[in-house]
């Protein structure tokens, strides 16, 4: 009986040891939009919370929509116009919050192209805990980017966006 207990315990360790965390793939229409996530990742927020965050970016909105055929992507960072189009094409995607505005000194009125939002696929929304942690990670990254040293560390150029906390 004692030996059986040990055997079961070893099997449990083996099975749990083999299990890996499921990655969350994020795609954005601009690489700069990912900076808050990068900052949080750099400072180990996601590792600490058991989230394997993978970041991809494309050149434009059209490419973004094509690449969204890859079902691995569950988070999209894009402008409001593309976001609305995406919501119209597929009911699986949900706009969550506004995350950034394009810095434009010459043009004070902000259009759909200058406002950026975060969308989540319904499959991620069902993983409520991961979704919340992801948003927290975004917010943490936004806070980190308030430090110019962090910005400088992650991007040599000036960031063309003003990032916001998601949900505020």
């Amino acid at each position: 009986m004692k030996q059986l207990t040990w055997l079961i315990f070893i099997l449990y360790l083996f099975i749990t040891g083999c299990s890996t965390e499921r990655p969350i793939y994020v795609i954005s229409s601009s690489p700069h939009l990912q900076l808050p996530f990068k900052a949080s990742k750099f400072f180990g927020f996601f590792d600490k919370n058991g989230i394997n965050l993978q970041l991809d970016s494309v050149e434009n909105s059209d490419s973004l929509l094509r690449f969204l055929n890859f079902s691995k992507y569950s988070v999209v960072l894009t402008d409001l116009k593309t976001a609305r189009k995406l919501e119209k094409l597929s009911s699986k995607w949900q706009q969550i919050c506004t995350i950034a505005l394009k810095r434009n000194k010459e043009k004070p009125i902000i259009g759909e192209k200058e406002k950026f939002v975060l969308l989540m696929r319904d499959s991620l929304l069902k993983r409520h805990k991961d979704a919340v942690k992801l948003v927290e990670g975004w917010n943490y990254g936004v806070d980190l980017l308030k430090d110019p040293a962090v910005v400088k560390l992650l991007s040599a150029k000036e960031v063309p966006y003003r990032f916001f906390h998601c949900g505020k």
Binding site: S61, D62, L65, R66, F67, L68, N69, F70, S71, L86, L89, S90, K92
Partner: protein, 702 residues
Amino acid sequence: MRIDKYWLLSAITLVVSVLIGVGTYLISYQFFKDELLRNSVKNAENYIEVTAVSVGSKKKSRQLIEILERAPYIEKVYMTAPKERSKFLIEKELLFPDGKEKVFVLLNKNLIVERSSESAQKVSLIIFVVTLILTGFILIAVRNFYLKPLWKIRREIGKISKGELSKLPEGRTDDEFNRIRSSINQMIDTIRRKTEREDVISQFIYLLTIGKGFNGEFVSLMRKVLNITDCDGVIIGVKEPKSKNIQIRLIPKNENEEPLILNKAIEKLQGIEPYLLELQREVETTKVSILSTLEKNLGIKYIFGIPLTVMSETVGFIIFFKKETEPVKEEVKHFIRNIARSIAISVEIKNLINSLEEKLKREKELTEKIVKSLVRGIEIRDSYTKGHSERVAFFSKRIAEAMGLKENEVKAIYIAGLLHDIGKIGIPDSILLKPGKLSDDEYEIIKFHPLLSYELLKHIDILKDSLPGIKYHHERWDGSGYPEGLKGQEIPLQARILAVADSFDAMTSDRIYRAGIPKTQAIAELRKLAGKHYDPEVVENALYILLNEEPPPPEDFISSEFLNVVEERRLDYYLRDSLTGVFNRNALELAYKIARERFKEPMAFTVDIKELRNINVKEGWEKGDQILKKMVELLQTKLKDAIIVRYSGDNFLIFFPQREAVETAVREIEKELGIKLTFHQIENFKDIEALKVELTTLEFES
């Protein structure tokens, strides 16, 4: 090859391996089918996604379908939903910048099933082979590591049973088989100890019951017990039967120390010994203060004493002692109790045997005395038989021994010899005591005596074996004997032996009217009559004994002086004239024999009183008797040593060697008594028969 559990296990293992193989096939087939479907779906989805990304426009749907349908696991791609739905059908919504498109991809079901089956077969075969190999290894391991050592143990146990091995060899490792060997060896030791103890107990019983008592062997055995029990010595007290004493033996364990034997009065016992005898209880103590001086001097520190009790009677005690205070184990106590019980029973049995032997001895003596009393009975009646019966018994016994008869047969013959003439009790004195030859009628009466003997003794159980000899000892080999005229082997051997011994003693013994013949002559007679009267084989065996051996003198069972007086009185009564005291007519032959022996040339005379009848009539019987008495007195005075026989009322026969002396005496008596006497010399008396004829003639003439 024997079909044992191992082979049964092997067969079960093979069956289980096959079942595992089949089970593995079924399970893995299902698993692979699901897994392949899942992978196909996933691959198809990925492929669709990649293709969709690379096509990049809704307008290029046709191109998209063509690309997708080239994949091997995709059977068909639909742009509209087909009617039939299945798990092999994938529905995918594709996003393009110019709109969205829905595609329905049907996977290649046959391919998935076929591959699943192939994979399942391979896996199940591998699992089966692996299981078989592994179980085979397990079975070989079981055989080598468990069964072989067990078989070896079994073989070695067999050798122990045959006596080729005393114990199982034990290795140095502490594995389970060595522990089993160790346990079996312990069991063997226990059984041996038990057997040894049982042997000791049975040896005690044997030693004590066969009458060896508490001898050297007993001491050795008791020392063995002391070694087994780890005691330093033992004190054994056994009550002496019919006595108030007890015999005490102290046996020390050390063989260099001699056992001590004491004989004590029971009332003078000290220490715990009287307690054991009186209260009949076990005593186990380390209290030195209650021990006797002797026990204290021995340095005893611990004792375990048990009374020797049989059927609530205490026959003694046994005390095992140690010179240290450590008590004996309970197992040892049990052993000691058994020994005590065995010794007690043995002592009691020995006492009973002794008592029985004594009783048997007394009964044997009583039987012998009864037999001898019977013999004396006939000896009292017939003086001739005095010592005859014992001599015949002696010779018969010796002849029987020489012929190799069994002990009980020899004993029966001896008793038959003693009692063979007992029937003579029933023969009248006139025949028995007759000093001369018997008439035919008398002889016919004498012939009854074997039957009388038989009838007299036939109801006595202890004499039953001797009856054939008693009844038929006068039978003769040629059938001329009596009572039944048996012949040869018809005559019981006992009787044939008795006949030889009886005849020999009759021939060699003196009789009143003749002397016994010498042994050699008697033996010659026996040899002559062997095959006629006597069994030749018996005669042959008897000759040496009869010639060379002398029977022991007969015991004086009755005072010989008293017997002589009785014998004399009886003879007087029978042979002498009660009035005159001289021989009567019955003793004629005896008187003749004496005269022949006493005188060199004897002469015989008759003297008759004339007219004694007239005197009796005229002067009375008393006068007549006086004359008769006086005349005899005068004859005896005047003719010293003369042998006088009153052979009828007034007729006397005188044996004397001088005629003149007799004649003178007769004339003088005539004068003295005033009577007339007739004197006549008998010329012809060459033998007794001639004398009788002469006397009869004279009697008739007068």
